[in-house]
Symmetry: D2
């Protein structure tokens, strides 16, 4: 049985550099900072910086996700005018287990911090699973960038 | 925001009937009882009854799993003689986030209760994802059986 | 960031010895086996063996708890005849976050496996907190017994 | 069994008003916005705004906590010069299960978003538990303010 020390982990967002996001994960010039992984529970936390017009491909949140958008604007499922959500910073968002995001589109340059419980399941146009990206995958992507 | 009543949920394992497991999930005559789903966190709990010689196809635990084996015997990754684990009832097992089970083989008729945090990711021979089965999928399978 | 190996943890319930429960936790001759602690998420799992007539003092589940009762019978909040629950083995039970158990009484010798998400908060007759018992406390109790 | 709709929850931080924090929780003029509660898992998320010189009384994180500090500066356990941590915005912090914060002191006006898994356990000078504050308690405080 593990016995971690009682401790805190602290990351300055100034000294942590932005790295480019890999194509499949979120394209169009997005960058990110991996802030934390929890190997035991499978949660992970990152900051993302997307340019205006960027988007995240279709994915399912297989566990709950929570985000704080510091600046910018995004829409999911067509935005608020089309039955989806348009989120304008500063804001907080909760994505329920099973939430399906056909595409997340950034309407302005957007900086957002997000905590994921479990992996993201990216899905293709026919509903097939393209990738299941959890703490191990993001850690490997981060380490190799 | 949800405000559930403070309550308990109780399932007699005598009065809950065994239902046949669907082919893809776990073949060879296995049966199950869905005991609980947690839609918010994505965890779910079930009892499984496998005949001797049955097996569960290759899968990844994308979140931690814990089981109590009441009777029987199983092996994962070739069993204890081949670098894997052979579990003999009565026993407790913990499957870490990311645990890969190439095949779980039941060496005797086995009854096991298991709690899953998040979905099971079934994978094919080339590592491709065949199915991601979480609380919604097991609930749907249970309701339609 | 931690990077645990992908692994399983397995405990034979035959070779793990029963230890006496400390007085405050659950009195009257109860015994237990600590099966797992998850230091990161704060969950822990144990087996309990209570003689007929034993009871667990008043406590609050500050996170969800799930149990499998292998044999025996227990009642909470006065039992099924008094608005509470009477659980008869074999059964499964789910205790919701915030569930208040004024007293858990064992009507027969009872063996139960339980997973706790977070600590148990034991409360006194005036509602004051007597102890908050999580993974660190149970690990220390186990190691010192 | 619950079957929530697949959905998102979105809170504009502009339109959600700041409310004063209750004395015991965090004194000295702090204000907060309750953003989310997860009754099932017991997690909750809030934004806090503390004036310079404010502090949070001694507490234990009984489950992991994660924060994003948008602006300001805080120190725990005496700060970085005394073996603790001094956090300067913008930054991210992770408080491990069991983390003990003798006092959290705000060196500047500080705005911080934080997600808590499970309750905060406030402790007095002799280590006695003063209060256990989870999703139900913060929801009740928020609704009554």
């Amino acid at each position: 049985m593990l016995k971690p020390k009682i401790e805190c982990e602290y990351s300055s967002l100034v000294s942590t550099e932005w790295k480019p996001l890999p194509e499949g994960f979120g394209a169009s010039g997005g960058r990110w900072k991996l802030l934390h992984v929890s190997p035991e529970s499978g949660s992970w936390t990152a900051a993302f910086l997307y340019p205006k017009g960027a988007s995240v491909p279709s994915h399912i949140h297989v566990g709950p996700g929570e985000y704080f958008m510091v600046r910018g604007k995004l829409e999911v499922r067509g935005g608020g005018d089309d039955g989806g959500v348009t989120a304008t910073a500063p804001c907080y968002g909760y994505e329920a287990t099973g939430a399906i995001h056909d595409e997340t589109l950034f309407l302005e340059e957007t900086e957002v911090y997000m905590r994921f419980q479990g992996p993201l399941q990216f899905v293709g146009p026919d509903g097939q699973t393209v990738a299941v990206v959890g703490w191990e995958q993001v850690q490997a992507i981060w380490d190799s960038a």
